[in-house]
Amino acid sequence: MIDEQILFRPIRELAARIRERKLSPVELAEAYLERSERVGPRLNAFATLTRDLALNQARAAEREIAAGHYRGPLHGIPYAPKDLVAVQGYPTTWGAPPFAEQRFPYNATIIEKLNAAGAVMIGKAAMIELAGGLGYTNGSASLTGPARNPWQPECWTCGSSSGSGAVVAAGLATFSIGSDTRGSIICPTAWCGVSGLRPSFGRVSRYGAMAIAWSMDKLGPMARTADDCGLILSVIAGHDPRDHDSLPAGIADFPYDFASEQARPLRIGKLTNAWPPNAALESVIDDAVHILEKDGAKIADAHVPDGPFEDAAELTILMEAAASFRNMIHSGSCARLRDPLGQINGYVCEEFSSSDYLDVQRIRAVLQQRIDKLFDDFDVLVAAGSDSTAQPLVERPQPKRRSTRARPEEVNQKEPDGISSLCGLPALCVPCGFSQENLPYGLQFLARATHDHAVVAAAKRFQSLTDWHARHPKIP
């Protein structure tokens, strides 16, 4: 019988026990499966549990390791990919009623890589329908219902990697795979109090994964620690000629050395115009930054440059989604989506023109240069992972405040997820405190495109100085 606390241990620790044959991959998989079957439905965490596959993979891992063939740190480690990556033999629903029976006759590249590493798939994590590709208005917009936050089940996990966040936070698998077009890894990571990495655009192949916006979609890990994220990224990264936007071989790879430490002090820019003012949140971020400063990091304020980052990000997604979901829009099957916005948004988004798209992409190139210049002075930028802690699930959005003018103090604010997603930057979010309601706050590190090692190193350093990541919710 495996102690429940084992289910919340990071990969490196589990991997060492498995390698030394002090922990059985089969027993570990069975423990996660039992917990997933018991707790998962209460949280709407999974789209599908893959018990048979998990046990077959775990038994294979156990046999191989016993025979002296240890594949590496993910060998025998249970995980759950978001239900938008193709897994041969199992449904891949994209979280949406029109695709409830969808199956693919092949594995996504990321699944092939995880199979090759000997990882054990417990199930497929629930998600917001189409990963929010045609819009959504609340957390119930999912084939499997609203994902509930393990820290407070009346609250949402955020989306669209909603199940991926719940799975890790609730100890239903050691890690999960999420996708991020604009904040869909970072926000659930922050709200669920786990560690999540959105890699640089192009580092992880998306072949076999549902597309929303080809020029913005990314896949990445959600796990216990930044170190876990580095380990997973080292497995799933790499050039794939089947993904048009895959980085070239040599750049896409992510060799990860746990022991490597930056020789000089970290140069950290604290974003001053990210998110609307929120005293409690700012206090938590200030405390986190102060911890890094006491550790020797050089801290300075940083300001996101002017430019329509948010509009360009949003429009790029809307325009590309109108193309990627064209069949569904034309057939009218979008009417079967759960969310009222998703049911009609595709019709409207077909009205964008080609010159609109090209103008947005021309601005995007200019904005990429502007944000890149910020990193001349900093190794990483830091900001809150989200503008709040997890919020209650609601069936309908509340009426919008009808202000007729901008609040002056907010006019120049930028949302880090829009900026970094538009420009393909890596981001890693880790827990950095808890609210009075015992809900986690997230701190995200951003780096120059392809400098994924910088966010892993900075977040790992932060976690060596804190223990927020070691906390987990008490679930009966």
Partner: protein, 117 residues
């Protein structure tokens, strides 16, 4: 058809932020996004933009009107107004002739494998 006053509509559809804001709205009583809240330019929505919204709306109805309920038609117009505001801010951004788009043709190597499906 007379254009609705953009001020009177619960404007602003953000595909992904919307859900997060919706949850937030339950306790905050407001949507917190400055860009969505600001009604930026609401008082000076140019006639050309109004016309563009009208034309796009007419085209949506021409193509998909038989699929849309009256409430969905209202919502579709609101979305178009919101999108037009975003496009206006994009068009207000100064670009030079030499500013090329962040798109590009990748030349396939000859050894590109076939798709698995």
């Amino acid at each position: 058809m007379q254009e609705q006053d953009p001020e009177s509509t619960p404007n602003a559809v953000s595909r992904r932020r919307f859900g997060r804001r919706a949850a937030f709205a339950a306790v905050a009583g407001t949507f917190a996004s400055p860009l969505l809240d600001s009604q930026e330019g609401a008082g000076s929505f140019p006639a050309g933009d109004q016309s563009a919204v009208d034309a796009k709306y007419a085209n949506v109805i021409r193509k998909y009107g038989d699929r849309l309920s009256p409430a969905q038609r209202v919502r579709a117009r609101e979305i178009l107004v919101s999108q037009q505001r975003m496009l206006k801010r994009i068009r207000d951004f100064k670009l030079e002739n030499s500013d090329a788009p962040a798109t590009g043709l990748r030349l396939y190597p000859s050894d590109t494998p076939e798709r698995r499906d």
